[in-house]
Symmetry: C2
């Protein structure tokens, strides 16, 4: 690509009055900019970078950015926000149809592959995650009760909200599908008589979760296993009064959505409750190919129009849906701030390219919740119909006393 | 159909251990019953009644019941609940596929037809509705804050909840699409400086709504018009800060769902909020043909998987979804009680066949919310993305002061 065609391409894509504005500097020193004040300068260090972006937009951008052939001076989030608002990757993508077709042909992940995929992301080292997550190591959307709430408080509030919605009560058996480093299990263990099982496919998460549970003195009532949700046996391991799954459904894969609901239903007691906390869209769309290749292999962001029918067909009765989109936008803001504050240390451990990769991933995700089509859904279901739950959602917003919701109507089935 | 084939048909359909139990008495005195204690006796007074049910289940049952060829002694609701739980009409229906095909070919209702359809149901006479609705004449799902709440209180609470969710504030312009007899408009008029427009296609509703508004001294700020939502002009009649639609969307028709969202979007200011309160299912299904023929001509119960994509494509940003299924079940219980208490008077006015028809409609609807697949959805949307609304749903559950929600963040756009 020569300078002239690069200018033409960029002028056709980038709106002259964007707010905030943009500036692009090409390899020969040529500059283009919006009429508005630029929030960033995109440095195109080599002609091949633009060719790669034009050929395969998301993948080309991600790889060129990580390699340093594209660089961003100033606000990376503003550039990605602009890309989402203007839907630049989709507008650039000539191969979109072919890729969508290929994507429809795959997407079911077997057990061995699932382990490999999870390990890729979560076995980066617990020390790495400790550098920028909250102290409880909650790697999912937090719940900010006020605009001033800090991340530590918001992550605790998220776990409390999930357990209030699920109506966890003394004596319940709880299953946490994708338990991470065990924070939700530890919160659940505060309710007297609860026995909980958490499963993860990450060995590093397993180790630390077990250690944290031991240190909390909860090992008699909380267990963590290295297992896929498809490996649990309703007879041997279940049944459970409550199932929760927070930030794991994004790894299930499109074709396994009905399998997931079918398995969870069999693990639940009749009349049991299921709280699903997941990133999602309204309408199906291909998961960003760069994210899928480099960050979350096998990941698929499910659409509501895929989730709702699968749950209905598996025999779940729909109770409630909350959208926490803005809470994930905020959570990612906190993570970015912490990540950047420790980026020197992270580069020392993992290398500079890794920092660039994760910077793009975190900023890209934040922009997708702010300007793109990502939402965070909390869906509440019962296995079969119940007429005895609280009539309104008011109890979700009342302070829990003694570690469990005060409403008598949510009694154990 | 002879007695032997009738016995065979009934035995294959009705489970022997149903709870509550059933009894059928055929025209020749033959009786069949469940092993469990019967809650009702279905009298089949003529062989042709079962033939009609077998040929076209819902329509045949409804028409034979209204004509008295089928009669129910005891709990009509228990029979209809059994029919929904066992999905009897679908299991009986040999013509289902052909009907579904036909149903997919139609369903868009023009303006003249819409007026005729609405008039059929709502122009029955205001005195008729006064006999069994609450004093505010709210003909839609109420909101029961506690199990003890009475219908009058629950209908006022519903209007208050709708306006709290929509974030109605002083000075707002409000549009109520399908305003009925004007109760929601009157509730909105209590917020200082609100100017509201309600539209209906029922002349009887129009008259009474105008009279009530005049009597309340609100005629200077609340207007009601006989108009279809497609007849409003964004330039002349709008734009509105808030749009609400309560129990009207069920008349829009399947093919007009995208048209509806597109029209509402154009009537709303950018960043305005839209609260849609509608009966719905998760998955699409043909509207009961008897209900469609005799009660709600042109009616279509929309599915979430149809609503969500249409709203998304029209540029609405999804904020929240609440399921008030149990509240409609309760509302219908109250209506049935009141209807039966006045049934002699209603029969005197409208005839005995009318009472049987409405009895079946009310009981059938109640069973569809209790044992069938009907839900009541309250969907909240903004026109385009907003980042300044309250972060949680807590304010939906806080007492409103001065007639508008106390949260400062829901300020007028």
């Amino acid at each position: 690509m020569n300078v002239r065609s690069a200018r033409r391409l960029l002028s056709s894509l980038l709106p002259p009055r964007a707010e905030p504005g943009w500036r692009v500097r090409l390899w020969d020193g040529t500059e283009l900019a919006s009429e508005t004040a630029p929030a960033f300068t995109l440095h195109v260090r080599h002609p091949s970078a633009l060719e790669r972006v034009a050929g395969d937009p998301s993948m080309g951008f991600g790889e060129a950015y990580v390699a340093g052939h594209l660089d961003v001076e100033g606000d990376l989030g503003a550039l990605l926000g602009l890309a989402y608002r203007e839907d630049l990757f989709a507008r650039l993508s000539p191969l979109k149809k072919a890729r969508l077709c290929w994507w429809h042909l795959r997407g079911r992940s077997g057990l061995r592959r699932a382990r490999r995929e999870i390990s890729h992301h979560y076995d980066r080292g617990n020390e790495f995650y400790r550098l920028w997550l909250d102290e409880g190591l909650n790697y999912s959307c937090a719940y900010f009760e006020t605009p001033e709430t800090d991340l530590e408080t918001a992550q605790r509030a998220k776990n409390a909200l999930v357990l209030r919605k699920a109506g966890l009560r003394p004596g319940h058996r709880l299953l946490d599908v994708g338990c991470g480093w065990g924070s939700l299990l530890l919160a659940a263990a505060e309710t007297p008589g609860v026995r909980a099982l958490g499963i993860t496919l990450s060995e590093r998460q397993l180790e630390l979760a077990r250690e944290r549970i031991r240190r909390a003195g909860a090992a008699d009532r909380v267990e963590v296993r290295l297992a896929d949700y498809r490996e649990l046996d309703p007879g041997r391991d279940g049944p459970f009064d409550r199932v929760v799954s927070v930030g794991m459904f994004e790894h299930v894969g499109r074709r396994n959505i009905p399998v997931f609901f079918e398995r969870v239903r069999r693990l639940l007691k009749p009349r049991g409750l299921f709280l699903l906390h997941t990133i999602g869209r309204i309408l199906p769309r291909e998961t960003d190919p760069w994210i899928r290749a480099h960050i979350f292999p096998g990941g698929y962001i499910p659409a509501l129009v895929e989730i709702l029918p699968a749950a209905e067909r598996a025999g779940f009765d729909f109770l409630d849906l909350e959208n926490l989109r803005r809470h994930y936008h905020r959570t990612l803001g906190h993570w970015i701030e912490r990540f950047e504050a420790r980026s020197g240390e992270i580069a020392g451990r993992m290398g500079e390219a890794f920092v660039r990769m994760w910077r793009l991933y975190l900023h890209g995700s934040r922009a997708a919740f702010g300007e793109g089509d990502l939402h965070l859904f909390q869906l509440l279901y019962s296995r079969g119909r119940r007429e005895d739950l609280p009539l309104t959602r008011r109890h979700f917003y009342e302070a829990a006393e003694g570690g469990f919701p005060p409403h008598p109507a949510a009694a154990s089935p």
